[in-house]
């Protein structure tokens, strides 16, 4: 066993003892299903990451690169997402949270090609109470939407979407939301808008490993602690307990 592995083992053992103490779980009797064994590798909630380490990581984050978009598509996405979730006095907006990076990565994932969706035809027009019935894949619909934003901006204001003032961008997005902006190869602009909105919220609040929620700032704004082993004490408190944010990275046990 290398020195490094030994140290790691020490951390895990300590973690295990802390959990057993916290949960009141006594070892003995028949334990099946890995209730205790599974905890190896989880760091305890007492561990804190020095703030400086985080800043350092974000300065050269290899995750900030594109898997799917070209530069212009990325810029348009970043601009549109910023209008959905703008920077204000409460904290960063979509741009500073790297939401467009998140969206790029999602569209490049199996989700972007509807891998877990039922995609067998016939594709018929649904009643409003029935679920969506689109043959087009998410990754393709999103690019059509981006092109649509620019086409509609050019038509309305004679400029690209990214060149518009915020209030004009809002006007374009409002028409996309209502469907007034028309169709994108037969799909209402509203469908693209809803996808953009959902992806923006996800990009602000999903675990930072997905590329957005930069430095957990999305969570910080709403005082969401992220990922802890438990909150037995906090949930019984009459006062609001603000905790320092932790992400899944803190569970790696490296």
């Amino acid at each position: 066993m290398s020195e490094n592995e030994k140290n790691q083992q020490g951390v895990q053992d300590k973690t295990r003892r802390i959990f057993i103490k916290n949960s009141g779980l006594t070892v003995g009797g028949l334990i099946v299903g890995g209730a205790v064994g599974s905890l190896f590798g989880i760091k305890s909630d007492t561990k804190t990451e020095p703030a400086t380490a985080m800043v350092h990581e974000s300065a050269a984050n290899p995750n900030e690169a594109l898997m799917y978009f070209n530069q212009e598509q990325y810029q348009t996405t970043a601009a549109a997402a910023e209008r959905i979730f703008p920077k204000d006095e409460s904290g960063p907006g979509a741009k500073d949270l790297n939401v467009a990076i998140y969206i790029d990565h999602q569209l490049a994932s199996p989700w972007g090609v509807n891998a877990k969706d039922y995609m067998v035809g016939p594709f018929q027009k649904p009643d409003e109470k029935q679920g969506g019935q689109l043959r087009i894949l998410r990754k393709d619909l999103f690019l059509l939407g981006l092109k649509g934003l620019n086409d509609y901006s050019n038509k309305t204001f004679k400029k690209k979407f990214t060149e518009l003032e915020a209030k004009d961008q809002d006007a374009i997005l409002t028409d996309f939301e209502s469907g007034k902006a028309g169709d994108l190869s037969g799909v209402s602009t509203n469908v693209f808008f809803k996808m953009l909105r959902t992806l923006t919220i996800e990009g602000a609040y999903a675990d930072p490993m997905y590329g957005g929620n930069k430095d957990m700032q999305g969570w910080k704004m709403r005082k969401y602690p992220g990922s802890y082993m438990g909150y037995t004490k906090e949930i019984q408190s009459d006062k609001f307990v603000a905790l320092k944010q932790q992400s899944l990275h803190d569970h790696m046990g490296h």
Binding site: S23, A35, G37, L39, Q130, Q133, R197, E202, R222, L248
Partner: protein, 571 residues
Amino acid sequence: MATKLPKVPVVIVGMGWAGGIIASELTKAGVKVVGIERGKDRTTSDYLMGHDELRYQHRTELMQDLSKETITSRNNRSMTALPMRSYGTFIVGDGVGGAGSHWNGQTYRFLPYDFEIKTLTEQKYGPNKVKPEYTIQDWGITYDEIEPYYDKFEKMAGISGETVELYGKRSNPYPTGPMVKTPIMKEFEKVTKKLGFSPYVIPSSNLSETYKNPDGIQRGACQYCAYCENFGCEYGAKADPAVTVIPVAKNTGNLDLRTHSNVTRILNDGKKATGVFYVNTITGEEFEQPADVVVVASYVFNNVRLLLNSGLGKPYNPETGTGAIGKNYCYQVTGGATTIFFNDKEFNLYGGAGALGMELPDFTGDNFDHSNLNFIHGAGIRVTQYGNRPIANNTVPKGTPSWGAEFKKQSIKYANSTFPVKVQAASMPHRENYLDLDPTYKDAYGMPLLRMTYDYTEQDREIVKYMAQITKKIAKEFGADIMETNEEQAPFNVNKDGNTHNTGGVIMGADSETSAVNSYLQMWDAENVFVAGASAFPHNSNYNPTGTLSALSYRAAEGIIKYIQQGGLLV
């Protein structure tokens, strides 16, 4: 060409709660069982990265892969049913543990009234209280008869709770004490007591304390980490077949668990099953597994579909009201909630558990007088604290735009300051709400998909109107700054409605003309086929279904052992 395997005593389709309980009871009794599961095997070590809202909740990691199989739905017979192409309302589990891995863990018993609903309603309110299109019926079992099985399940799972006076008599208290009370639960308790109601802590399978069950399985206490529904529990604190009954069955050496195996047909000669036909979902290999007894224990939808695709039992016909397979599909009704917002109070809503909350028994079942009401049964009115995960919870006051500066401001302002007083109402069966095979759409193996024809009925709309007034009254007592009541039940929408408690389709009863299975869940039309799960419920109560479907599974296991010994119809 399918490989024909040697015959076995029992084959079980599906390894969730129903299949897991039956596998555990049978293997402990020395019966050799083949357990077939279409998904993967699972243990708590699969959940080390479990606190991932995107992966598990929004990308539905633990759910069935819809690219292989889904349902089609329509609101009424005049519409064309279309496939549920991605997840909306229903989340159907996949893999060992099934929905019992990703559930919240709220574990109720149904009321004595539920099991004899037709008899008791007519006795009290006369034969015309319920219109004939509502096909309610007694269950063919009474509360007193099912009570020992509830007791058995609660001891196995270690259910945490407190005895409630307005409910059925218990032979034993809950094996573990109730969950902790949070400030919003305490406030709910205070205001509802002031109004004369009797709040209690929701019975929970998220253990309140360390517990060792009669099988020797020991589990630790819930840490209120807020990742229950849609997630697996990495501590094993939440009762899940994968940490309770399945390992017990495995330990006997009598369970042959075959994962990644999807049963597409129950082989039969028209009178009895001879085995099952399944496909390995990874390799595509096909197998024929002969068996003396076939237990169908998959999710409600697939139980019905398997029987219909195998030509077992008589399909329900909504024109004539005859036939039983697909009959009495029920859902649950969740309209009538009041959402409250505080401007200057924050709660620790980031923490919680799937079965953490308080509820009123006062408006459940027939615990209140229905003489002057246009509905029967009732609702659980409750405040819960599941833990507000940030992608899913962005509740803003009405009138707030759904995006932009104002949305951001309000959603952050109220992130820890809003919660609803909720309603979970019973669902009565209706002649026009049923399940059958879709004429057009097929699954990845070429078998027809299940078609759902469903909408809320007059009974549901009336119940929602009534409960909305009560949630409003309670919310008022909270002294909140903003209060919003959802007064009317909108039509059923497969994208939006927020409940996944599907029931019926292979219903139990005392009469082989109006039901599909007897009180041992044995098929009237094929004595060596047992169909377990919430598919057996003739209607859905105002509670979460797992406690009842699990109790019935213990009874079915008893029936199967009896059947192996003596054969024939057990009732």
